[in-house]
């Protein structure tokens, strides 16, 4: 072959190869939803990542057991990262149309899932036949995933915030771990003692970046009895004495006492990494933060305990609650929806299976005894069975959560437009945590103006 011919052949081959690969990209998966033998295939996300060896092995065992019980269903599961729903990744997958058939999302995601046009109405399929414990699920949770009378997701987790604290650091500072702070003033005193006793530790740690600062501002505002938006949701409602108190408490600890450490602008993983390293005395978090500290960030379970959220004069007036669920992608066949519901029911909503397989988790040293996910309504059969099984297999001292569990605070959900508002409030949080001369009035006023502008623009 002469040189020009050779070049020509290579060029055509390249062009053809590229064309083929483009064609391949644009071709949808050739997995038929239902094959000739009536076998249904569904894809599911939130499979544990490879580094979580036990959790992944459990998940794979569950998939195998479920498929054995349901020979007509094939589950294809994928991992989408440790957090399962990292908001930008979630939005990118949603916008790109690459969600799995059954996909994991936060309660606050309903609106964007509906806007993307990818939400499947599962009202007619979600019942006792597909989800045996359906009638035991707390109706407040299914309500969060309901829009216009139609159900779009099955709740699989529910949390409310408390005060997570490190018992080891408490002891080191001469504090009684059995008597954690009940007020923000007590938090401040304890934080100072912890920071004094361990120079490398933050007595109290707080988020202020990646929208997590706004999330925690909201929780702490709820603890004061405040609200982020007015009742009609049209105006910001935090530029008042309650909002000021939230920021003042933080500023006092950060610059008055220097008890919050030097590194700020923390996000979810930053704070939990420090906590797992034994460098955080207290932070606001849900009980499952202790699970994340142990299973994802390699902390020690015996270090931690959870108390109810503190308030200004006594315990918090209310606390922030939220949760997660599994959505179903629009366009699934009825058989696929039913198969998906059956799988979610098996893995997430059956006492003794999947996330409630406490006898399996116990010897794996995966914490059993955490009062979460609070999925079933109090007094229902499923709730009683879950509590009984959890107690029977607890591998952590139930006293750790006793204070949190025994003092149920009123729970408030996240505001509408939560992420946009959190982004604005991050700025106020980072202001008091990084600027010793921060003017709280100005920070709140600026944030109020910004939130009102956002609400007016309908973003």
């Amino acid at each position: 072959m002469s040189a020009p011919q050779y070049r020509k052949a290579v060029a055509y081959a390249l062009a053809a190869g590229l064309g083929l690969s483009l064609a391949a990209c644009s071709t949808k998966s050739d997995d038929a939803a239902t094959d000739a033998n009536g076998k249904v295939t569904i894809t599911v996300d939130c499979q544990p990542v490879g580094t979580e060896k036990d959790l992944l092995a459990n998940w794979n065992a569950d998939v195998a057991a479920f498929q054995k019980d349901n020979p007509d269903i094939t589950i294809k599961s994928v991992s989408v990262g440790q957090q399962c729903n990292n908001p930008p990744d979630f939005t990118a997958r949603l916008a790109g149309g690459t969600m799995t058939d059954v996909f994991y999302g936060y309660m606050t995601d309903l609106s964007q899932v509906l806007d993307s046009g990818q939400a499947m109405d599962i009202t007619e399929y979600a019942n006792k036949d597909t989800v045996p414990t359906f009638d035991s699920i707390d109706p407040a949770l299914t309500k969060v995933f309901t829009d216009g009378g139609k159900l779009y997701a099955l709740p699989v987790k529910n949390y409310s915030m408390g005060l997570v604290y490190n018992k080891t650091l408490f002891q080191k500072a001469g504090l009684d771990p059995a008597s954690p702070p009940k007020t923000w003033a007590e938090v401040r005193t304890a934080a100072k003692k912890i920071a004094d006793a361990d120079k490398g530790a933050a007595g109290y740690a707080e988020y202020s970046a990646g929208n997590t600062g706004g999330w925690h501002f909201t929780a702490e505002l709820y603890s004061q009895g405040g609200q982020v938006l007015s009742e009609d949701g049209k105006k910001a409602d935090f530029n008042n004495a309650l909002g000021k108190q939230v920021l003042q408490n933080l500023k006092d600890m950060r610059y008055g006492d220097n008890s919050m450490g030097t590194r700020q602008l923390l996000q979810w993983g930053d704070l939990l990494t420090n906590a797992a390293a034994g460098k955080v005395g207290m932070f606001v978090g849900a009980p499952d933060a202790t699970q994340a500290i142990v299973s994802q960030f390699k902390g020690k379970y015996e270090d931690w305990a959870v108390a109810p959220l503190p308030g200004q004069d006594g315990l918090a007036k209310s606390t922030l609650g939220g949760g997660e669920g599994y959505f179903f992608k629009k366009g699934l066949t009825p058989e696929q929806v039913k198969a998906g519901l059956k799988w979610v029911a098996y893995e997430k909503l059956t006492v003794g299976k999947g996330q409630f397989d406490y006898p399996r988790a116990k010897p794996q040293n995966y914490p059993v005894g955490v009062p979460q996910p609070l999925l079933f309504a109090p007094g229902t059969e499923a709730q009683k069975a879950e509590v009984e099984l959890r107690k029977a297999n607890a591998n952590v001292d139930p006293a750790i959560y006793a204070l949190f569990e025994n003092q149920q605070l009123p729970i408030k959900g996240e505001p509408t437009n939560a992420q946009a508002i959190y982004a604005v409030l991050d700025s106020a949080m980072s202001g008091v945590l990084t600027n010793p001369n921060a003017n709280i009035d100005e920070l709140l006023k600026t944030a109020e103006t910004k939130v009102n502008q956002l609400l007016a623009a309908g973003s």
Binding site: P4, T91, D115, G117, G210, N211, L265, N435, G458, S459
Partner: protein, 315 residues
């Protein structure tokens, strides 16, 4: 070759010698063109699919709004909404601030490093590798190094330890609204200057040595030689890199995302590209993000057009 050289033979074929020559030339031209175009198909398809299509799609999306799965045309609504965003003007201000700082530091430093390297007689290759090494480091890794070691706000941080040993005041770096942008420029310059240094070096080595000799004979010192010989001789490269640098720095994104965890302290790190990301991926507002993207495209295109016009006139 006989057909071309022997006159009798051409008559037998019924065609004149120039006609055959023309035909052969035309055939060869067509063959070359086809080969060239075939090679081009790959690049054109890549650009079409990954650059032009998303660009056109972005422009279309910026005039639409998708709610509850229904997309409607909304005219300029997304533009008015995005301009009304409280972070819109601060983001532009921060972006321009970074661009100016990067132009002062990130543009001048590589040029002088290249001159310095060009003047060296020993260890040239070794030093070139050393300067280029940071470019080979993935940007995210390099920025994490800066975030956790260099910019640690405690006295244990690398930069603070150096400042302290020199009895200079330390900084809160990324936790100070004033230091955020300069800190990002330092990190960005360190990461990216290797490429620019090599381009400058190549261009410096093309400057004829006689020009320097002549300047030296005229009694020109180092600065005069740089000013009267080096800069005029490398003007084209300098102009090109200035434009590339400005276009690149205006799209600043990964530095605020990693060093400042996004917006930074009191929005001091929010850039236009980060605001696009916030709208698109945190605020369920892909249409607003598209509108801001189009605004940025227009600003950069206008800048490039003016710049090209100005530099062409000078030439």
């Amino acid at each position: 070759m006989a057909i071309i050289t022997a006159p009798g033979t051409t008559e037998k074929l019924g065609r004149s010698e120039p006609a055959i020559r023309n035909n052969a030339r035309r055939n060869r031209k067509i063959r070359d063109n086809v080969t060239g175009h075939a090679f081009l198909i790959g690049a054109v398809l890549c650009f079409a699919l990954f650059s032009w299509y998303p660009m056109i799609r972005g422009i279309v999306m910026s005039f639409q709004r998708t709610k509850r799965g229904v997309t409607t045309w909304v005219g300029w609504d997304n533009y008015t909404r995005i301009v009304a965003d409280p972070s819109f003007w601060p983001a532009w201000k921060n972006t321009f601030y970074f661009t100016v700082l990067a132009l002062i530091l990130g543009y001048a430093v590589p040029f002088f490093v290249a001159i310095l390297l060009n003047e060296l007689r020993h260890a040239k290759g070794y030093l070139r590798i050393l300067v280029y090494l940071p470019v080979m480091l993935p940007p995210a890794s390099a920025l994490f190094l800066f975030k956790f070691y260099a910019y640690d706000p405690s006295d244990a941080g690398l930069f603070n330890a150096i400042l302290k040993s020199l009895h200079l005041p330390t900084s809160q770096w990324m936790q100070s609204a004033d230091a955020t942008m300069p800190a990002m420029v330092i990190a960005s310059t360190w990461m990216n200057m290797g490429g620019a240094v090599l381009i400058y070096l190549a261009s410096l080595q093309n400057i004829p040595g006689e020009l320097y000799e002549a300047a030296e004979l005229d009694g020109a010192g180092l600065w005069r030689r740089i000013w009267n010989v080096t800069i005029p001789q490398t003007r084209l490269i300098l102009a090109l890199l200035a434009m590339m640098q400005i276009v690149a720095t205006m799209q600043l994104f990964i530095e605020p995302l990693i060093l400042a965890n996004g917006a930074g302290t009191e929005d001091s790190a929010t850039t236009v590209a980060y605001l696009i990301y916030q709208h698109g991926f945190f605020q369920n507002d892909l249409n607003g993000a598209a509108a801001l993207g189009v605004i940025m495209l227009v600003v950069l295109a206008a800048f490039s057009a003016v710049y090209v016009r100005l530099t062409t006139k000078q030439d």
